[in-house]
Amino acid sequence: MSNTKKYWKGIEELQETPEFLNHKQNEFAEELPVDKFLGDDKLVNTNTNRRDFLKVLGFSVTAASLAACETPVRKAIPYLNKPEEITPGVANYYASSYWDGQDFASVVVKTREARPIKVDGNELCSITSGGSTARVQASVLSLYDSNRLRKPQMNGKEAEWSTVDKEVKSKLEATAQRGGNIRILTSTIISPSIKAAVAEFTIAYPTTQVVTYDAVSLKAIADAHLATHGKAMIPTYQFDKADFILGIGCDFLTNWLSPVEYARQYASKRKLSKDKKEMSRHVQIESLLSLTGSNADKRVALKPSQLGLAAISIYNKLTGSSISTAATDKDNAISEVAKELASYKGKALVVCGINDPAIQQVVNAINTYLGAYGNTINTDVIDYTRQGNDAAVANLVSEMNAGSVDALIIHGTNPVYSLANGDAFKTALSKVDLSISLSDVADETASACKIIAPNSHFLESWSDANPRTGHYTLGQPVINPLGSTREALVSLLNWAGNTTNARDYIAKYWEVMLYATSAEIAGFSTFWNKTLNAGLLVKSTEIVTNSVPTVPPAPSSTPAISDIKPVADLFAAGSSIVSSAKSAKGIEVVIYEKTGLGWGGQANNPWLQELPDPVTKVTWDNYVLMNPDEMREKGFNVLMGQEQFSDTVDVTIGTKKLSLPAVAQPGLPKGVVAIAVGYGRTAAGKTANGIGANAFSLVGTSGGYYQFNVSGASISGSTGKYNIAATQTHHTMMGRQIVKETTLEEYKKDSKAGNEDLLLATNLKNVGKDGKAKPQELDLWQNFEYKNHFWNMAIDLNSCIGCGSCVVSCTAENNVPVVGKDEVRRSREMHWMRIDRYFTSSMNEEVAEKDGVGAIDKFLKMEVPATDDSLEVVFQPVMCQHCNQAPCETVCPVLATTHSLEGLNQMTYNRCIGTRYCANNCPYKVRRFNWFRYNENEAFDFNMYDDMGKMVLNPDVTVRSRGVMEKCSMCVQRIQAGKLSAKKKSERPADGSIKTACQQACPTNAITFGDFNDANSAVRKAWNDERKYQLLEEVGTQPSVYYLTKVRNKPATTKA
């Protein structure tokens, strides 16, 4: 029944009075006196009186200022439709490939809400086994480099891709038609697809030739093998199979061919345990104290010009040959090395990093004599990561100068910066009609090119790689290109007339070339997805890749390795070595790559700039390394510190001059200086520009090979003062038991050697025995009880090589701010973990006692590192030790630092008021204070001030505010995540399933992390190892971090 009830607003409506009907349409019952009000004459004359005005003014000002006080609201905008694979708060991982033209790594990229925030090694990869270098770790920040180009450029102005493509194509076509020369200058290409694309390009433009250029070339190794083995190749090395390793001027642990792999092999051979009491012996003959030399059991410092002579002497001694050689400064030491080497036949490996084919031939001959080929050197698996041809580059420059190059495409390299005659290259470049750079920044070379077609960052790109025989990897984009950039592969294809995208092209290539021979998986898409998921594919047989035309053409067919003749013309090689050694005069210069920055491709990365050099501990600069004795003789300051100014010196070779501060480097022979490349950038970006000087300008050329050891330099006196920033300004252990060390011989006899129990005298009846007690027995405090987990960490000092990957990894994981050079100089670096490096001193307790040296004098002399060959170096990673009786915890007035139920020493940033008492009372000095607001502060114009750079921040870790203390948390966010994922499966976290950032990055597995309460955990095993000790045990802090003593494979006679 419909409702027929009706309600009236009033009696007027019921009666429908005319008045009501009249007003029914009006909104208001009575007419509003609007006209009357507005028409009021008085209104014109009204004035707000002073009091009213002030009231209103006061109100508005207050309201406005109150509104201004409000903290700005940053909006987080939720997804309208949730992407299938992204769950906010849950990280995704994608396998990819890192390749910077020199170093290869198969990586796993962590993304959060579609932002890549961390790059780590891919554990499935047999080359890196999950380890990574500092550069790989830092590469994720380079993605967010705001200096990267957002758009292609033509003649210095931004342009559209269509315009660029049209221009390039028309010019290339015109050039090809009239038979003009087209050249592609590229860094080593290991991508089979790019090679195919280049081949396609060459078909489209037949006058194309490819010139491969490695800034730090190792062509001599390949060419020496051509001479000795009949095949130009760089073999792969197996340090884990060598009982004796001899390095000659070769920094194989950080900057040589495949550093992560070689470091891992090296360390695995040197790991010791109850069941394995053997390790390799490593002798290093070199000039610069490299990171590799720092780890050697024995190191012989020689001038660079004599390294080749040493190789000949060793060969002569071993084989009884009489290749003419000349005397070196250390002939005795060298013949001792040769004598030792002789007893390691079949188990020895000699490696050499000098780009001189004559020396490399001698080294090959030594290796052949020692039976290294087939045992410790694998010639079946060939390393493709250095294909540069130094002579071809020189040839290209003269071609360009002659005006015979009409079009030049530069890919993955920066010759204006990295060629010794970079300026000449720039001049020659101006003579090229069409110069195209595929660089992603307008660097020194790109800015001199007419067109820049920016390549995408590897994290934005599809890619593939074939770093060595049978090893294939895929790379996938993990974020959309941040700017309008595209893969170099696409650019080349596009210009060749093929408009396929990178993914399809690579997939097609893999389908045709690789899938066809992988019958074990049914269906290409399954194969592709599986490979993409793993990131790599290892094939037992080599697949023929499209050959790349080179200038000059590569040697054609080569004889099989089995029937090579081991002896090349060693006499010719010998005389070449001797003559070049004899021609060395003046001061010799070693030009080297730093562990962090390498050749400088990622120089604009603040993480790498702030990473201290592992040996010098200096950040943010390159410098002239000199022997400290020599510096004292010249009156230069050898000390470092906030107000210790280094002397600036001019290093001159011919017309080239570099002006850099002189820094003391023990272990460097007198008359030799060393300068790192990678600095002196002028167009890399705001972080790198203007730092240091370009040492590439001093690189020499001999017989068509770049020479990184040059002579004939002179050094001026002090021309000024310069303040360098080092994270460690004191270099010796001062006779303290900080890094405990022993020799293999002693260790075999007693596995507690060098790690004798520390017993303190006590008169307490109920503790210890015989009046002696261990420090942890003498304790005022009650011990914590850890009922569930007890997180511990063990660091094997015998495995740690000091490379610093962990430091960058920690920085990335924990949002550690970059503070810049001036703050580092003030000892205010924020790194949560550091790697302490100590040199030995010629003064120690025994010497003092023997020579009757007084205490004051003794300590003064202990501060000075040894400058002779007795110099040894140790590395010790130090982070928060998570003491179980933590001195920091008791002193905080507000309980901002407390102990967790799982043994972690935790920092509550919110509660911290910043008294710094905890930092003062920390015996390990691992606490870091936020002296300023480091984020969003223009005084700290690094990634946290940059809208792009901020994208790298890990959302799981708080960005600390000004005035609070911070320190290593043992990656508590990872522990929580690991516990949660185990909980979801209703099980305990498996040992090894939770990894700290430092542990994950470590190429040598020096760091073990786990639950002490798990009786089978690796960390528990380390606890029971007799080499285990706690740092500063006598303070009674009972750290949860412990170290395993370092063991050097050397005779026990010299006590460390």
Partner: protein, 458 residues
């Protein structure tokens, strides 16, 4: 009370004084006009104080990074200044409380200004533990206040928390003690005032004191009770300050000798500062008849004693570090004397150990000029003592990899000078508005210890 002093004691009030004359002399600075010397001193002090305020503001605005501290040396000038000022603050209470209990009558001319100095020194001192916090706006978190942050409480294990209690108690008791003593004197000033406004102010300040026998009796009782309360505080405050260091694990800090050594050092520096101030004040305010050479000499004797205790403590520290056999400890002390901060150690040794020994000579002990110079030396020496303890222990502790140096910035220096400015500004204001000598108390010894007392005119 009014027995005659033995003639071997020197008179404590010089000249021919009557009760009225004492009142006249002491009320004069309050009632008269400021002289030029005062104006100059006040201007300089106030400017310094303003500069200090500016430096403090800059620190709060920018961050503790504007100081010279670093990852290894987390405290330097801040806590050095704190301990220095707290130490200076010790003389006042010692003079008023302990000397009162020991019935040392010479304290009567100096206790008022010594106590004022204590209050101002503690104000300056308290600035530092607050200002050195990274997040000073959260300083109230060190107080055990009920809060809504959850079950948050302070850490009673932390010596810094003990400091909070020690300093605040000390400040409160000192202030009450000082003010109690001032009441009768304020009443005297009130009674002499002719300007109604001033009369009103002083009558409020004097809490309606009428000078009745009952009031005097209560006054004496309260003084004695407060003296009893203050006496342990003299020992406790610096003991607790010393525990900031003594309970830590840093070689050079972790020392059981610290509590007595710090207390002796504090009295030492406090007396030195009292001397520095009084020698100027007696000149500027014409109080030579009340603050006599005899007073100065008595204080100099305390300086010899405490200076010697401090000297013995220094040597004991050296001995114990060697005898302990702990290499870190041994190096810490060797480094103090011969390391990069040797100059601070030897400044400390010279100023604190050698110079006070000159007071064994009576001529020097009684010379105002010599006393003034030595008192400045002691002030400097005691500042260096704290600097040596804090900075040279921290800058090279356990792991040589973290060894570094501390270099002060302009802000560090500015803040220190600023607190000196604040201190003197307050003291100068005090000298013009408060009776700088406890005049009513002093009158009780007029007959007994004056050089030439005149009978009052009745």
């Amino acid at each position: 009370m009014s027995h005659q002093s033995a003639s071997v004691r020197e008179p404590l009030i010089l000249g021919e004084k009557t009760y009225h004359q004492i009142t006249e002399d002491i009320a004069k600075p309050i009632e008269g006009k400021a002289n030029n010397l005062f104006k100059i001193l006040f201007t300089i002090s106030a400017l310094l104080a303003l500069w200090g305020v500016a430096c403090f503001s800059y620190t709060i605005g920018t961050g503790i990074g504007v100081w010279g501290l670093n990852k290894t040396v987390g405290w330097a000038w801040d806590i050095t200044n704190f301990v220095w000022w707290v130490g200076i603050g010790h003389a006042g209470t010692l003079i008023s409380a302990i000397l009162l209990l020991f019935r040392q009558r010479w304290r009567m001319s100096i206790n008022r200004s010594a106590e004022a100095m204590t209050i101002f020194a503690v104000i300056c001192a308290a600035l530092f533990p607050v200002m050195h916090m990274g997040r000073v706006w959260l300083a109230y978190w060190v107080l055990p206040l009920p809060n809504q942050f959850g079950s948050l409480w302070v850490n009673f294990n932390s010596p810094l928390l003990w400091d909070v209690f020690a300093i605040s108690t000390y400040f409160t008791v000192s202030l009450v003690f000082w003010y109690t003593g001032l009441i009768p004197d304020f009443a005297t000033i009130r009674d002499r005032q002719v300007k109604p406004k001033m009369k009103r102010i002083y009558s409020i300040l004097s809490f309606g004191w009428s000078g009745s026998a009952k009031q005097w009796s209560r006054f004496e009782e309260v003084s004695l009770v407060l003296a009893g309360l203050s006496t342990p505080l003299v020992l406790s405050v610096h003991t607790i300050v010393s525990m900031d260091f003594a309970t830590s694990v840093i070689p050079g800090w972790h020392t059981t000798i610290f509590p007595p050594y710090f207390v002796a050092g504090a009295v030492f520096s406090g007396f030195a500062m009292v001397l520095t101030l009084l020698i100027i004040m007696r000149k500027v305010l014409h109080l030579e008849d009340y603050i006599t050479i005899a007073h100065v000499e008595s204080m100099n004797k305390i300086i010899i004693i405490t200076g010697s205790i401090v000297g013995v403590a220094y040597l004991t520290e050296l001995f114990v570090s060697w005898y302990s056999g702990v290499e870190y400890e041994q190096y810490a002390f060797l480094n103090r004397a011969t390391g990069p901060y040797w100059w601070s150690y030897w400044s400390m040794m010279t100023c604190n150990v050698i110079t006070p020994q000159l007071f064994w000579f009576k001529k020097i002990r009684k010379s105002l000029m010599a006393t003034f110079i030595i008192s400045i030396f002691v002030n400097i020496g005691m500042w260096f003592e704290r600097f040596v303890i804090i900075v040279t222990s921290l800058h090279r502790d356990y792991l040589p990899s973290s060894w570094t140096m501390f270099h002060p910035t302009f802000i560090d220096i500015g803040i220190f000078l600023g607190t000196i400015g604040i201190f003197f500004t307050l003291f100068l204001l005090f000298s013009r508005t408060f009776p700088v000598i406890a005049l009513n108390e002093l009158k009780t010894i007029l007959k007994s210890t004056s050089e030439n007392p005149k009978p009052p005119h009745h």
